[in-house]
């Protein structure tokens, strides 16, 4: 039989295959980190990973679905409060209660979607902010969970959390340090799962549809992509991930108040800067952005409000002059894509090569 070229569609590139190997090694190293580094470093890594998760979900909303939300703190706070309620009132283990936080965030997102999707573009943004304010004000009325001043997780709950006892024996840690390691591993797992999930989503048929809707909603509609449905789906998914992450953050913090849990600065402004500086609309952007953000925060933490002022200015300058962020800058010059989403047509001379997609 004569050998004829075959065509196949692939999204892989050499860089992506190399980066997959490096990523696996990094994850293994990160998982092993608590064995070698100090408790302070574990907490820093926890912070980086949770901000990365929030940034990836905000990026999915704004960068891929065109839904600019300034109200993701609603889901951080509501997920966290739901976790607190499940632990303090229902006596669930905090690790299990994190799942309750994620589900609660989705349950909140269903009615709020009904309101915010009546607003378009910029008004959607402020609409999400109003919703977050409403949720904060309502939660602050919940006296059982401390009302406006907040409350702490019962000490017994964090001490008896899944895995803490085993880690104490295994690594010889105090229970508070062991708790940090447990939450750190959960954060690592959540970050890896988030990136893997979003990457898969973007490479799927649904993801293609999403890109089509972002580029031209009416044209996408003409070829049968239901843009509104896609956007609703993304909104709910982002709420779930953000709620999980909020609950996880507050398992580690173990103390909550409405002002902190629904802070627009902590859970939305920082996240927006991470994504904008790193590169909006890419999976790599938030990863780079969160590292830059962490370095900036360490360098400028002593300067109080100057720090936020500088962060705001950097965000404005990047948006005006390099709207695709640091990753866009790198990728334009090198052509590297670590998480390629574009489908490329490859002509195979070797018919033995199996189809990959």
């Amino acid at each position: 039989m004569p050998v004829s070229p075959r065509y196949r569609v692939t999204t892989q590139t050499t860089a992506s295959r190399v980066s997959l190997v490096i990523a696996l090694l990094l994850v293994v190293a990160a998982a092993a980190a608590p064995l070698f580094v100090s408790r302070g470093t574990v907490q820093d890594l926890f912070f980086i990973l949770t901000m990365l998760v929030l940034a990836q979900f905000w990026n999915l909303l704004a960068g891929y679905a065109g839904l600019v939300s300034v109200g993701q703190q609603a889901f951080v706070g509501f997920g966290a409060y739901a976790m607190f309620a499940a632990v303090s009132l229902a006596g669930l283990d905090p690790v299990v209660a994190i799942l309750v936080g994620g589900i609660a965030a989705v349950l909140l997102a269903i009615p709020t979607a009904f309101f915010v999707f009546r607003l378009e573009g910029a008004y959607f943004a402020i609409g999400t902010w109003v919703i977050a304010e409403v949720v904060r004000l309502v939660v602050a009325q919940w006296q059982t969970l401390g009302g406006g001043t907040g409350t702490s997780l019962p000490r017994s709950a964090t001490r008896d959390m899944i895995g803490v006892e085993q880690l104490k024996d295994w690594l010889g840690l105090k229970s508070s340090a062991a708790g940090d390691v447990v939450t750190y591993w959960l954060a690592l797992a959540l970050a890896v799962a988030t990136i893997a999930f979003i990457y898969r989503l973007l490479r799927s048929r649904r993801g293609l549809g999403l890109a089509a809707v972002r580029d031209d909603a009416s044209a996408a509609g003409a070829v049968g992509v239901d843009g509104n449905r896609m956007k609703h789906l993304v909104y709910l998914v982002a709420a779930f991930g953000t709620g999980l992450c909020g609950a996880l953050i507050y398992v580690q913090t173990a103390r909550i108040s409405p002002d902190a849990a629904f802070s627009v600065i902590d859970w939305t402004a920082y996240v927006i800067f991470i994504v904008v500086i790193g590169g909006i609309g890419t999976l790599e952007g938030p990863i780079i952005g969160v590292l830059v953000f962490f370095l900036l925060q360490n360098a400028l933490a002593d300067y109080g409000s100057w720090y936020l002022l500088v962060l705001g200015l950097i965000g404005i300058v990047v948006m005006l002059f390099a709207p695709r962020g640091i990753w866009g800058f790198i990728s334009d010059r090198t052509g590297i894509e670590l998480f390629p989403i574009r489908r490329r047509l490859v002509i195979d001379d070797d018919p033995q090569t199996p189809d990959t997609d």
């Binding site: 573009g121 402020i126 800067f273 965000g315």
Partner: protein, 287 residues
Amino acid sequence: MQWIDTILQGLLLGGLYALFATGLSLVFGIMRLVNLAHGDLIVLAAYLILILVSALGIDPFTAALIAAPVMFAVGWALQYVVLNRTLGDDILPPLLVTFGLSIVIQNALLEGFSADSRKIPAGALETQSIALGGINVGVMPVLTFVSAIAVIVALNQLFYRTALGRAFRATSDDPVTAGLMGIRAERLFAKATGIAMVVVTIAALYLGTRANFDPTIGPARLIYAFEAVIIGGLGSFWGTLIGGIIIGVSQAVGAAINPEWQILAGHIAFLIVLLVRPRGLFPRTVG
């Protein structure tokens, strides 16, 4: 009688919210730009008036008269140098740049004035009241409301009686064809934001003389302003006034039931309107 009093207070409060909202409505109407730093610019103007009052020993109204052209220049330059670059089909740049601006203004004010609450002293006016149909109302709230109406009348005159107003409306309809009429959109937008900042100065005058303020209260004012604009329906200044009144009355009634419910009641009223009339109470029929 107590309820009538509450509603009257809420109505007058609505005048303040309408002043917050009018600048936002003006800029959105002309260039479809939502400025997330709008509330922070109001607070910035309040500090400017405060500085003028304490440095020159003048009364706040004179200070606002001096602050207004300064704020016009600030708005003109902000639009011409920064915001014009963000306009286009993509909604991300204007939102993210103005959000960054909001953070910058808040923290610059924190650095310059600390987080302490301030108030612009307005002398005897602060405590004076007049009897309206048997109910005593403060002179300042009445002045605020009258100013809101004056601002809306003036803006309507500007929009419907002047060449500049025609250019605003034409550019809002179709910026390319407006260019063929010799209208330079970049400069026209700069003028519009300048005018919005004059309205912001008037809002700041009443914000700062009626209650305490600090550098972080801007975003909440933005939200009230936004709610008033959406309730009123885009593109109608009188609608914006009604929207402000609805928020003000809801807050006053909410506060009368339980002081903790004041802000929440305003938001709930907004959500109810969004539910039953998603395009606002007075949507523009054209376009």
